[in-house]
Subunit: 161 residues, 2 copies
DNA sequence: CATAATAAATGAATATAATTCGGATTATCT
DNA sequence: AGATAATCCGAATTATATTCATTTATTATG
């Protein structure tokens, strides 16, 4: 079951999410101090947020250049039987170098974010992986020259209640 | 100093990064078991990866819908004095709802990823924030209808050595 | 090639933190 | 109001992080 809104999340849950979004390795006792609560109570809330899949993953952001990933590209694609059939998107999603696959409004069908070592490896990826997806009709590749900002931090709103 | 490549990272560092990328809350002892090393040695390596800024951040991925963020958009922008002056990008980067700002090759200048509650709040953001950036000449907004995949997991390569 | 210098790993001791759970408290529903 | 469920607390236990002196391995250099 997918959570559709923040109706179940009170201001304490949102505070936990804000703190953990900024630092997922924050200790439970530190969390508890920030929230002025007992560690056990905070832990229980965190577990519930995990169960409810409000928390999707604890992850480490790594400097891509540090592991040799110097190329970032956005690829717009058109696919045959574009709507209704989600197989194209599903196939794209299977590719590890593909970080994002979005179905978009407008003339193109998909917007895909890809990260590789360099342009040669992007070409390689296109030859080996994209070309196998036969429903792809056309693609337009946009190379990123420089990334000024890149983060997934959500602006977590205050709860009404 | 910015790390440019993985020349300093051996296969153990890369293994640490792979494990921590998948789960940043993995315990140090568990890491050590996986790597068949002493916890103290692993800890030292992790601290170094942090110092070297190979590890940028430990973060929690949150289901955006769970906190009421139901709209994702990509905005292509043209700016005056496009190259050379980075102020437009810097101003865009300051906006919390802006998750990504990329300088791209091609006719447009910037590609911006924005996440808001809904289309009304995107409009609001445009009126209040984007409109203040006077160097923006034109924008083209692409609304995401559905996100099939969204993750920043890097494909961490093997080291040559 | 030897050896000094540097870096990394180990293991044990200590300090912190996570986790559990019975009982108290608070919120919710009718 | 009274019952039910949810949340919270605090102490005990278990597990983990952290430190550091020593050993081992790697690297640089005469």
């Amino acid at each position: 079951m997918i959570i559709e809104n923040n109706i179940n999340l009170d201001h304490i849950d949102l505070a936990i999410l804000r703190l953990m979004q900024d630092n997922s390795r924050i200790s439970n006792v530190h969390l508890a101090k920030e929230l002025e609560m007992a560690p056990s109570a905070v832990l229980e809330r965190v577990k519930k947020l995990e169960q409810k899949e409000v928390i999707v993953q604890y992850t480490t952001r790594i400097n891509p250049a540090a592991v040799g990933l110097k190329l970032l590209a956005f690829i717009s694609m058109k696919a045959s039987h574009s709507l209704g059939c989600t197989t194209t998107a599903t196939e794209l999603a299977k590719i590890a170098e593909v970080q994002e696959v979005h179905i978009i409004a407008g003339e193109d069908c998909y917007l895909v974010k890809v990260r590789t070592a360099d342009s040669a490896s992007l070409m390689e990826l296109m030859r080996t992986s994209f070309s196998k997806i036969t429903t792809i009709v056309s693609i337009r590749t946009t190379i990123v020259l420089e990334t000024v900002k890149e983060q997934q931090q959500l602006v977590i709103p205050e709860n009404k209640k």
